[in-house]
Symmetry: C2
Subunit: 250 residues, 2 copies
């Protein structure tokens, strides 16, 4: 029998959410150590050389990078498939995933969520309002214009649910933690895709634990998640004190 | 019959080299518009929303991101395969590719090659010697320590040649343009892998055109490459004047 899969990474992270959503959708059992990179100890550095979450542990195999992990889950557990069968559509889905992981992450997570929530709550620093304002008025609208142009009028991006929908919905979910919502009159295609994807049972199960984590300092989340029935590991790589500068190495 | 493949991107870029090496290794015919993002015009922005190179054009399909493109080439032209057959090794190869595309690119390309060559030659600005010194003394050695620990004592990373070797060799090739060479006494595994990969006929064919491009300002490269027999497109998305700030959007 295969060992049980383990994920290191916090429910609040969109990168972690991509992986957890794929596992939920594929019906895989897993345990999670819900740390942020800010509190990872030296063992975390050993498993994740760039100190990023998520990390997937599958027996002897340790994998980094959400895109690499999602593709691995697809290769190893192909049913249900979360990548389009058509080769060209599969490539386009992977591109939309990459667009989310780099650009949408930059404008929604680093310039909005990190500025408005993490800097204040974790590091007790001030939000840079100019960064937030530029993200809200220029950069996020431009990214939404691009996405809107790539998506169909209804349904998922490529017919059946795929990694493209999972990625887009994951980033906008983290943005919603600081009350960002897509204007459905201006970007109806993206808004309906995000709503449809986030309404899936897999996303709804995760939402419960995301809300638990969101309410608490990172060092108090573990106990609350345990009480809320999250599938926690028996060990943790988290330390008691968040350290700035460990969130992103470059 | 399928349309001929087209690549937009310069021979000097390690991201472009990954794609061209895959195409050469798979024996695919292609044309190239050897522009840098600095000189791309509005049509380039349309094809590449983050203004990155390479772009692959395959008939109606336009693809961005070197990792997405290389995986597409593998899916569409599976022989010879450039991804390990074993699922776990395939995932590890993709992770090493990702490590190169983000971290090795950051320390070798942006902190070394861009500082020493592009800033001076394209934009007539001064090198930030502190950035270069830190890259050479701390960051590149740390990245090499990590790679050395991942690689076998001899041969390619996963038995047969794979995207992992192609990626590692591509980034160190661009670093060699500013005379960076791996210390083979300190990192023998990485040094032999890079030497072995760069000695392949596919890399050697590209090396000829890389050297042609390297000697000249970006706006003079096209004519010289044509004279050197590079498979150029009949059109170009390049403008006469390089524009700073278009190299990297985030």
């Amino acid at each position: 029998m295969s060992p049980r899969l383990t994920v290191v990474g916090n429910y609040i992270s969109p990168y972690v959410r991509k992986v957890l959503a794929c596992m939920e959708l594929k019906g895989l059992a897993y345990d999670i150590d819900p740390i942020t990179p800010f509190v990872g100890d030296d063992r975390f550095s050993d498993l994740s050389p760039l100190r990023r979450i998520p990390v997937l542990i599958d027996g002897e195999l340790v994998l980094n990078d959400s895109s690499v992990i999602c593709q691995y889950l697809e290769d190893r557990f192909p049913t249900p498939s979360l990548y389009p069968a058509d080769i060209a559509q599969r490539a386009k889905a992977r591109w939309l995933e990459e667009y989310c992981d780099t650009h949408l992450a930059n404008v929604l997570v680093w310039k909005l969520f990190y500025q408005k929530a993490i800097l204040r709550r974790v590091f007790h620093e001030e939000t840079d309002e100019a960064v937030v304002e530029r993200a809200l008025s220029v950069e996020i609208p431009a990214a939404l214009d691009y996405l809107e142009n790539q998506l169909p009028a209804e349904g998922f991006a490529f017919g059946g649910l795929s990694i493209a929908d999972i990625s887009i919905a994951s980033y906008f979910r983290t943005a919603s933690f600081v009350r960002y919502a897509i204007d459905a009159t201006r970007w109806p295609r993206t808004a309906q895709l995000v709503e449809r994807t986030q309404a899936l049972p897999a996303f709804q199960r995760l939402a419960h634990w995301e809300e638990t984590a969101l309410r608490l300092p990172v060092t108090e989340q573990r106990a609350a998640l345990q009480a809320a029935g999250a599938p926690l590991t028996s060990w943790t790589m988290g330390t008691p004190t968040p350290r700035k500068g460990f969130a992103r190495m470059e």
